[in-house]
């Protein structure tokens, strides 16, 4: 019994708790605790989600009418380029790294990441290259405007001839982003390989850890290729080399190989952790073990292997030879096999379960539906004769927004709701959460479904104006996008007000099985500190009655003093 106003271990905790006066400062400093870094990543990412979303609203405002009548064409091209760049490099990769920071050490029973200072460095690079990207908006020539792919020769045209141009700042930001991600990947992979709790063999790791390991392996293998291509492009732009310039004997398609060798695996970097989230949440919210753990774990690495040999499907029409098109068509279609293994596993998990339709589960179910829809259009895109027709049309834009917003972002929201109480010590408001889900599901389907008929009819992507026959579906899509924009409001309200004054959370509100749920909410600075549990069974023991760790009861009864 202590006379302090709160549990002394909470003094070291990294979330604000009632009575602790200056905990908020930790989030604005160079703090090496992975849980603080995780919140920092997530907060910065959500800020840039709003920026990227605002750009999208302006774009959809332009596209609600066929003519170019809202912004100048140069402005539209800058907007769509920066929308894609910000959403990928400033939102989705940082937010996934944020979840990794929160969840990896706690789920495997480690005190922190393998390299805590490098971890903080990797985070602090994010606002730096974010600033560089945003600063490019005020350059006289405007920001980069050749799409987030930045294909030469159009990206190296540099009409004003300035050394510091939107494009060169874009390349610098992307290169820094790559370095930050590689540092993060090193940390995540080393931590998973080396710092698991005693008794946690590889095949007792939660699936989220498997999928993150797979995703970060792809980062390590793929990012250097992107960096190499970006360096060569930068030299073409500022020094006058001819790697990709035909006049000097260079080859523009070579850049496409460099670019997509990374950027295809990048999409698996995005979706694999979301697969992990689905595996965790479907199991917990059906109170049933994950069906087929071994196949699901191995499928993650099958996706890594296959994901590295499909990149040419992004540029089938560029003139690559027929044998190459056929080869990459087959490899691309094969990815649906390990992915299908996971989808069937989730369906078999929830079948016959005891489902709770709370906010995390709703987001997972909606995300699963959107993902399956995106998957079948993916098969169509993999099929070369069909792709020749729909490549570079809105069909592709619809497909990838279904995966990214419809599946990945919804999965990320699900994770945030599911683990919110663990890392803030408070419960979110369930009603606002359900509202957020409803608006998101309807908005994303209204926004992105119409893009499919548009693409089939032949509307190209990246256009600032279009022929009148495309008007109807564009109007629907724009209205959907405005709804999607509004849908973020209940989420922001929920996050802020719950953190500040939400009800205190119990240690394990979902009664879920996992090492992170054996920690107090929020966990102390070094998680289990000296009392690292010994894992004695696999991760999804719902209904088996087997405890996860030795002396489990001791970990389950950690209460704080009431303030």
């Amino acid at each position: 019994m202590t006379t302090a106003p709160f549990d002394p271990r909470v003094l070291k905790s990294n979330a604000p708790v009632p009575g602790a006066p200056d905990n908020w400062k930790r989030f604005f400093s160079f703090n090496t605790d992975a849980k603080v870094i995780g919140i920092q990543y997530i907060s910065v990412a959500i800020f840039f989600l709003l920026v990227g979303g605002l750009l999208a609203m302006i774009m959809r405002g332009e596209l609600i009418t066929p003519e170019n009548d809202l912004v100048d064409r140069t402005v539209y091209n800058g907007l769509y380029t920066m929308h894609g760049t910000i959403m990928l490099f400033m939102f989705i990769f940082p937010i996934l790294n944020g979840l990794n920071n929160l969840l990896i050490p706690t789920m495997i029973g480690a005190p922190d990441m393998a390299f805590p200072r490098l971890n903080a460095v990797a985070f602090w690079m994010v606002p730096v290259f974010g600033f560089i990207l945003m600063a490019s908006f005020i350059l006289p020539g405007g920001p980069a405007n050749s799409g987030w792919w930045s294909y030469p020769p159009v990206s190296t045209q540099n009409p004003l001839g300035h050394l510091i141009s939107g494009e060169s700042m874009w390349l610098l930001a992307v290169a820094l982003s790559g370095v930050s991600s590689i540092i993060g990947a090193l940390n995540f992979v080393t931590t998973i390989i080396r710092m698991r709790a005693p008794g946690m063999t590889f095949f007792r790791m939660p699936i989220f850890i498997w999928t993150v390991w797979a995703a970060q392996t792809l980062q390590l293998i793929g990012l250097p290729a992107l960096t190499g291509g970006a360096i060569m492009l930068l030299f073409d732009l500022v020094v006058g080399t001819s790697f990709f310039q035909p006049e000097g004997g260079g080859d523009p398609v070579l850049y496409q190989h460099f670019f997509w060798f990374y950027s295809h695996p990048a999409v698996y970097v995005i979706i694999l952790p979301v697969f992990g989230i689905f595996s965790e949440l479907f199991s917990a919210h059906s109170r049933k073990p994950l069906f087929g753990y071994l196949f699901v774990a191995l499928a993650s690495f099958a996706i890594v292997f296959l994901g590295l040999i499909v990149w040419v499907h992004h540029f089938f029409p560029s003139g690559v030879p027929e044998w190459m098109r056929n080869l990459f068509m087959v490899t691309t279609m094969l990815i649906s096999v390990p992915t299908g293994v996971k989808v069937f596993a989730w369906l078999a998990t929830i079948w016959g379960g005891k489902i709770q339709l709370n906010t995390p589960m709703l987001f997972c179910l909606g995300g699963l539906f959107n993902f399956v829809f995106a998957g079948v259009t993916g098969i169509m895109l993999a099929t070369v004769p069909i792709d020749i027709h729909v490549n570079n049309t809105y069909f592709v834009v619809g497909h990838f927004h279904y995966v990214i917003y419809g599946a990945a972002v919804m999965g990320i929201f699900a994770a945030i709701y599911h683990w919110f109480s663990k890392f803030t010590g408070r419960m979110y408001y369930e009603g606002l959460g359900k509202l957020h889900f409803a608006l998101t599901f309807i908005g994303s389907n209204l926004n992105f479904f119409p893009m499919h008929p548009l693409g089939l009819m032949g509307m190209p992507r990246r256009v600032s104006s279009y022929d009148p026959e495309f008007t109807f579906w564009n109007v629907v899509a724009s209205l959907g996008s405005f709804l999607l924009g509004v849908s973020i409001i209940p989420f922001l309200l929920n996050m802020i007000s719950s953190w500040v004054r939400g009800p205190k959370a119990p240690q394990n509100p979902w009664q879920a099985i996992g090492l992170e749920w054996l920690l107090p909410s929020p966990p102390p600075a070094e998680n289990f500190e000296e009392n690292v549990p010994t894992v004695i069974s696999g991760p999804y023991g719902y209904g088996t009655g087997k405890p996860l760790v030795e002396n489990q009861a001791a970990y389950e009864n950690q209460q704080f003093q009431e303030v």
């Binding site: 020769p153 109170r287 196949f295 089939l456 032949g458």
Partner: protein, 311 residues
């Protein structure tokens, strides 16, 4: 490992089979609808592509409907009571089922791929492709290389932001593409600046045009009409306006057009970008930096890009 029970439940099998039958019917119906989502079929490639798309729509419908059915069933009949936190049956897997749902999709995928490779071979659109130098002394020796092309070739010159079509045999150029119906045509695609995309949705065909290369591209139009050619690879500020019309007409009509065109003097062709650029300059060039559009190509027949088109 606790496995799912393996007694055969006949009513369940009957219901599942019946529902599968319903979904097969729906999928077949969707596959017929799929043809309506695509533009008119105006080339020999179009029926092949549409057939493949229709087949994949059937498969897609079946998969999506099955997944939705399972999710719906679970949400309706497997709900726990609000405060019930008890566990469900600890079913951890069923190796035989997992093997089945790995192998069967793999076989289906190989089946689709085989079908698609066959269609690819039938399409066979991509001809030989050679690298060229722009402004190379070698080319200057023999004159502009377009003059040495086989006579049935149509040379397509893509620029920021206009399309020029040259018929070397007839010594005709235009910014409106005319083609005789039911005759195979070979295009020679070149770009003078950045990557463009030669895309005619009604033909279902697209080919990127890479600067520094001359790409041969073959197709056969099968339906008379006026269609759209759209630049499909982002090529800069006025990319969206870089469109031209494709007029497919009878052989006689086409010959007549060529003869008429040959007698016309050279005049500026179509380029919406040039017009917009001039207007933009006059209005004070508000906006960010842009490359200047290439001047309108000098052609015999400018043609039109504002007449109604079918696709």
């Amino acid at each position: 490992m606790t496995s799912s029970p393996s007694r055969i439940n006949f009513p369940a099998v009957a219901i599942v089979s019946a529902w599968t039958g319903v979904l097969v019917v729906i999928s077949f119906w969707m596959s017929r609808q799929a043809y309506h989502w695509l533009p008119v079929q105006a080339s020999t490639a179009a029926p092949l592509v549409d057939g493949l798309f229709s087949f994949e729509t059937a498969l897609a419908t079946f998969v999506v409907c099955w997944v939705v059915s399972i999710i719906t069933w679970v949400v309706l009949f497997n709900r726990a009571d609000k405060y019930d936190m008890s566990d469900a049956e600890p079913i951890e897997g069923n190796t035989r089922l997992e093997i089945i749902w790995t192998v069967i999709p793999a076989l289906i995928v190989f089946g689709i791929a085989f079908y698609a490779v066959r269609v690819n071979q039938q399409l066979a659109v991509l001809g030989p492709m050679e690298h060229i130098h722009r402004g190379s002394p070698v080319e200057e020796v023999g004159g502009y290389v377009g003059d040495r092309l086989p006579s049935e070739t149509v040379e397509v010159i893509a620029r920021q932001w206009s399309w020029e079509f040259r018929y070397p045999k007839a010594n005709v150029s235009s910014t409106e593409l005319h083609l005789p119906v039911d005759k195979p045509v070979t295009f020679r695609l070149v770009s003078e600046d950045v990557i463009h995309g030669f895309y005619v949705p009604a033909f279902r065909l697209k080919q990127d045009i890479i600067p520094g290369r001359a790409i041969d591209f073959n197709l056969t139009p099968t339906r008379e009409g006026r269609y759209r050619l759209r630049d499909s690879m982002y090529s800069g500020t006025w990319f969206a306006t870089n469109q031209a019309d494709v007029v497919v007409e009878s052989s006689d009509g086409f010959q007549h057009w060529l003869e008429q065109a040959a007698s016309q003097p050279l005049q500026p062709g179509l380029s919406d970008a040039v017009q917009e650029y001039d207007q933009r300059q006059q209005a004070g060039a508000k906006g960010w930096a842009t490359v200047r559009p290439a001047p309108r190509p000098q052609v015999n027949v400018p043609g039109s890009n504002t007449l109604p088109h079918e696709a």
